[in-house]
Amino acid sequence: MKLLRKTSWLLLPVCAPLCFIGCATPQATRVDSAGGRSLTTVRGINMQDWNDAADTMINSLRENFINAGKLQAPEGKPALLAISRIVNNTGTQIDTDLLVKKIQIALSRTDKVVTSTTIGVGGVADVIAEEEKRRARLLGVEPSRPNYTLSGKIIEQTARAGNVREASYVFQLSLTKIPEGVAAWEEERTITKQGTRGSVGVW
């Protein structure tokens, strides 16, 4: 009993700071979006999923298309890529630029591909550049036509067994050669997440 009393006094300075930590008000903390600490939910595409899908697509493009010598570009110029429709077949509204923009950046860094900002589905990325292009056409300057278009689809598949819920997100992309209209490169990446109702995040 005496020993217990002695040791409990010794434990006090160790335990006291722990109590303070427990009393601290919860604070918002900034986490690295490229790190492994961002939140993961079963339902919905999280930052890690976008990074994962983009990494697979970019690696495949570099390895199976560019590095394999399949990229065909005009003499001495990089190939021109136009972004076509990326269909969202998931139950939630998503901005497909979270995937496409990463691919555009990665391709432009290879110095072998440039992306058009004046050709696009449902509106161009740069309105001023589009206006200038129209003006140049009136002056007889023929604008460059794209050599490739990028299109794709994001599909959601859900399942449930008892308390366990599962969501799969399938990312499909195709690079089409213009004017032939044939797929020059295709890739698919499926990300599956499982969790219970009580797990982190919102179902």
Binding site: S33, T40, N51, I66, G69, A106, D111, K112
Partner: protein, 141 residues
């Protein structure tokens, strides 16, 4: 002596509980592989010895494609008999050792079944990338 039966039951329960987590992978491959890998001498800096014990790097090899981009392949092995989660990230450097930023310079989650090996592959973001570094991080969730 009275404790012994309880001890045996306890050990049996722990063993039963551990069973679902111990699923290992069996593999088969050509005894004399035709493909010859161009292995790379690597330098390893281990700060998380626990992760290093569970997920080990078996070897690193590289190749160059027609497009002039360096391709790296790292074989990792789960040395344990249970499922292991980890994150990895490749970094690329140019000739002067300056890091080359990419839009996907992020830790990517992967999982390995017991005794399973996996190849982590990456192709250099640009032709000026001459060196690489692979970072392995334990699952943070």
């Amino acid at each position: 002596m009275r404790i012994l039966p309880f001890f045996i039951i306890g050990v049996a329960l722990v063993a039963l509980a551990a069973l679902p987590g111990c699923t290992t992978v069996n593999t088969v491959e050509r005894a004399q592989p035709i493909a010859q890998r161009q292995m790379v001498d690597d330098k390893r800096i281990v700060t998380d010895s626990s992760l290093n014990r569970r997920v080990q790097i078996v070897g690193v090899n590289q190749s160059n494609g027609a497009g002039g981009l360096l391709k790296v392949q790292v074989e990792v092995l789960n040395t344990t008999r249970s499922l292991q989660h980890f994150n990895y990230k490749f970094e690329w450097f140019d000739e002067s050792g300056t890091v080359i930023g990419t839009p996907t310079s992020a830790f990517l989650p992967r999982q390995l079944e017991g005794k399973e090996s996996m190849f982590l592959t990456a192709t250099a973001p640009t032709a000026i990338a001459k060196d690489f570094r692979l970072k392995l991080l334990q699952d943070l969730r």
